[in-house]
Amino acid sequence: MSQEIAHWLDNLLEEIEGIEIRRKSSRRVRVDVPADALPALLELLQGRAGYIHLSAISCVDWIDDEEFELVYHVWSYENHSLVSAHIRIAREPGVYLSVYDLYQPAAFFERDIHEMYGIHFEGSPNMGKFILTEWDGPPPMRKEFDSEAYINEHLSWQEYNPPWLQALIAEGGGVVIPPEEQRFSRKKS
């Protein structure tokens, strides 16, 4: 993105109240806005700046702040730059507006986020289940959902002790480390 376009974009975006613009690289711009200003921002980006491609909507669960962060990544085929618009919404009740009327790909991402995080998007065409059709537990991508604890509670581990391993251990060979210590991922930081 040339300096001229970057300057023009900055001026354009300053029409939005409470906006914070950060240029991360020549083709990446980070924008933080209050949640209620996002539809206006996206309308501006799409209608006047050519950001017609919604690349993705990402959701991050900031459980300690009691907030969800929604990130809308939009790309311009003309400026060759990607704007990531960040908003924060309250974790409870976890409701936000759909941007389907601006970007049709939003339907998939909103449905996915609804399924995985339980955020309801008002005005989205389909909030039905897609991947977790037969799951009736809590939305699994939320930070409070511990998949390992869920497995230990609902499923049982299989014993794995084949003859070759028994023979190896009887000979005093093989690497025998208690499973708890083998798993680096379990260690708390």
């Binding site: 083709r27 990446r28 017609i52 491609h53 919604l54 690349s55 993705a56 990402s58 959701c59 991050v60 669960d61 990130v71 990544h73 085929y77 060759h80 990607l82 990531s84 970007y103 049709q104 790909p105 339907a107 998939f108 991402f109 996915d112 995985m116 897609f130 991947i131 977790l132 059709t133 037969e134 699994p140 991508m141 998949s147 390992e148 680096f184 991922s185 260690k187 930081s189």
Partner: protein, 380 residues
Amino acid sequence: MRPENYEAQRQPPSNEYELNFGPNHPGIEGNYALKVKLHGDVVIEANADGGYLHRGFEKLMEQRLWIQNIALVPRICVPDPSPMELCYSMAVEQLCGLVVPKRAQWIRVLQLELSRIAAHLFTFGGHAATTGMYSTMYWGVTDRDLLLDLFEEFTGGRVYSIYNIPGGVRRELPPGFLQRVTETLDYIESRLPDYDNLFFKNQVFVRRAKGVGVMTREQALAWGVTGPNLRATGLAFDVRRDDPYQVYDQLEFEIPTEESGDAWARTLVRRHELMESIRILRQVIDALPDIHGSIRAPIPNPLAWNVPAGETYTRVESSKGELCYYVVSDGGPKPYRVHVRGPSSMHAVQVLEKLAIGSRIEDIAQTMFSLDACPPEVDR
């Protein structure tokens, strides 16, 4: 999925009926289903149904160390796993501020383009099989195997190479490897006229694919279509050129396009792209011997690696379209959040649902294969 959930529904007598297309069906890619409503043999409603492949990668990645996830990411897309590794590695590099050595960047391009050729050959094979041309399928899979042999030689893995790591690549190329790549590329190029005669110019395929699953450029842009499917509508957009990564800005290649936006155009774009990939690889083969130096930037002890807090969005052009990773770190030993945006999350769901409507039942497979939809990317 459970049988008890499928109750026979009593319908009033009519010409309309419902049919489950998938999840186990030779005309569908991967374990994926399309629930279609038909009038006669014309589709009047289509609903994509995923979930048969869900492995919860995004959740798993939050529970594993940064380096452990390298073994997970390629499994998100089976036919074209290399871009997944690269996209994740690039995200970690950006968060850590790692500068990848030049030689590693060139080797990465070599790996990516080999993977692209393998993926396209696989897709041609699958696509040809939906029109009953099994010889092309055997050819495609056999020729792909030659590339898998190369992967096995330089990465150790045939399908999931797990070769890119944050900071560079895992191993140096074996002696004489580039010569063997040249030989394989020459062979594949010499095969292309045969593929043309057997498949691309074959009237059985042309008549089955032309005019099927047509989308205009406006529709493609509105539906978030990317990759070869977008280029088949005439828009020359490629992440490799327009948002370059690694050393793609130093390479010369064309971006093939077609205008008609149908199944035939999409497949033809891939066929031209395969040629461009060979062209890129030849440039890499010429350049690599003169690029010396390390293949990996120094990284901390991977088992005690705390990536600095931050967030980044990386994009790569996979054989299917725009592949993106949104990675968030809270400064800890594991990612706080990894969001995978596979190109097929558009192509296999909304686009397929829309294009299927109005087509005949036998053309659903044509549409799906010509979109090169990869269900594991949707399910993640």
